[in-house]
Symmetry: C2
């Protein structure tokens, strides 16, 4: 299968880089980094081993890219409305679009705007990776990928998993995408926002009794919303997420990195969509509503 | 009537100073400012006119003070457990204790620890006043006082109102203390905490759509808790508080001043008691719970 990477940043650059490094045909869309990529390739510094893809199939616009079998989207969801037009030029009639993004209902919104024959999948990356310079990715920790199908060919998504695993990225196939998305939110909703709102780290949030209780309360609201949305996640999963975070190396959630760098935060797909899903199921998640509004306020102070 | 001022800070120093300036017998308890007060008096800079009480009846310990008819408490509630022992030496059998403090159930907690013959009242100060130096108070804006009886003699509290009004402080008698306390919380709960949590001003909170909606949601939770607690406050009162704040001069709530000066915040009586009252009435106020826990976390970062 051939691959198109839409958004060669921390996510697209790493996963696309791993695929290319293993010998797959990969075409990368760059934005401001195009010249650097063209001149000296895509540099990946990784705990799996450093490498450079040079020459790299680099493009300034997706209109110049060939149609590919799999389109990996690694962009933030903050410009999601531009995404369908960026994807369309690289589509074959039965391409599979894999959205390695954070949040809820991303697949639905993108699928509605693409031809019905095009498959759509969601990818949840458990990775600590940053873009540290032009076309230069630094992969610091983790790397695991979990993917689930929204629509299209199961076989093709399995093939994608095989390609990723053969490239050195541990990738699993989630039988229930909706459940996988909600499970990821159990961690993302409390920690992403609270490290921004309280200007702190996951470690400090876990050590203080009040914030620790608050994090857990927020997790329980995610479970409640998921349940109303038809996805039962046992409370022990929240306990597991607490344990996981207690034992994590110091880690800055992606929203905290966006905040630190004065970039837009992914409030809509991580918070607003979860609140909307809860409301449509007839329940409210007031603690998460507070976080959403606090984050919108904070974002307005620098954007 | 004779007066004892327990805590000669921004509140006690101003209201006690006004009473003394008008010719009442007032005894002031000082802490670290005792020497300055003794040497050059209590200085009050006020929009009502500057004055100095010199000599001032200044004491280092309430044990040295004479028993008085009215005991005005102007201390923050953060050391409330020390208060009964500080008050006892200045009590007559039928003294009236007026707690000019912020929050809920303060009167109940103090009354339980004082002789039953001693009257207890609550005072709500609408004032912008700071201690700007040793025994030096700066009264910047407003000044209005609203008092309500918790137990004891109505006549004595009316007499207190008369003395205050005669001293130039507009003071009203609230027929229902509980209602007056809850009404004050409609403003105090959203603005005090949110200016700290979001590191901002009342003005900025009102100008941003998300924080404005959040402030209003939190006000509605206060109304809900009050209602469950037997105090009906119409929603139009929340609208009035929004209008009031829209038209206020830039103002730092007392909790924001405490935070800025790395002092303890009055989280317990403003937040925790309201949450407890709601819970005891069988309801929850989750947005206010979030604020309480966020404030406790923030306080832990500097105390």
């Amino acid at each position: 299968m051939t691959y198109a990477i839409i958004g060669t940043g921390a996510i697209g650059g790493f996963y696309g880089g791993m695929l290319a490094h293993a010998g797959n045909e990969v075409h990368f869309l760059f934005h401001s980094d195009y010249n650097d990529a063209h001149e000296r390739g895509l540099i990946v510094k990784s705990i799996y081993g450093d490498f450079t893809i040079n020459p790299v199939n680099a493009y300034k616009s997706s209109k110049d890219m060939p149609a590919c079998d799999v389109i990996i989207v690694g962009m933030k969801t903050v410009n999601e409305q531009m995404l369908p037009e960026m994807i369309k030029p690289v589509l074959k009639p039965t391409s599979l679009v894999v959205l390695i993004q954070n949040g809820l209902n991303i697949e639905k919104h993108i699928a509605e705007q693409l031809p019905e024959s095009v498959g759509v999948a969601g990818g949840m990356a458990f990775i600590c990776s940053n873009k540290v310079g032009p076309a230069t990715i630094n992969h610091l920790d983790y790397g695991f990928l979990n993917v689930g199908l929204y629509r299209g060919s199961e076989q093709m998504l399995h093939q994608f998993c095989d390609d990723m695993n053969a490239s050195g990225v541990k990738t699993t196939y989630a039988p229930d995408l909706k459940e996988a998305r909600w499970k990821k939110l159990v961690w993302n909703i409390p920690y992403n926002g609270m490290t921004v709102i309280l200007d702190t780290t996951t470690e400090c949030l876990m050590k203080n009794q009040a914030s620790r209780a608050l994090i857990y309360d927020v997790m329980l609201e995610v479970l409640k919303a998921a349940d109303a949305n038809g996805v039962h996640i046992p409370q022990s999963f929240a306990d597991d997420m607490m344990d996981l975070t207690d034992n994590m190396r110091p880690y800055k959630p992606s929203m905290r990195l966006d905040f630190d760098n004065h970039r837009p935060m992914e409030i809509h797909y991580i918070y607003s969509e979860a609140i909307k899903a809860a409301r449509e199921s007839g329940i409210s998640i007031p603690k998460i509503e507070v976080m959403e509004q606090q984050l919108k306020f904070i974002q307005s102070t620098y954007l």
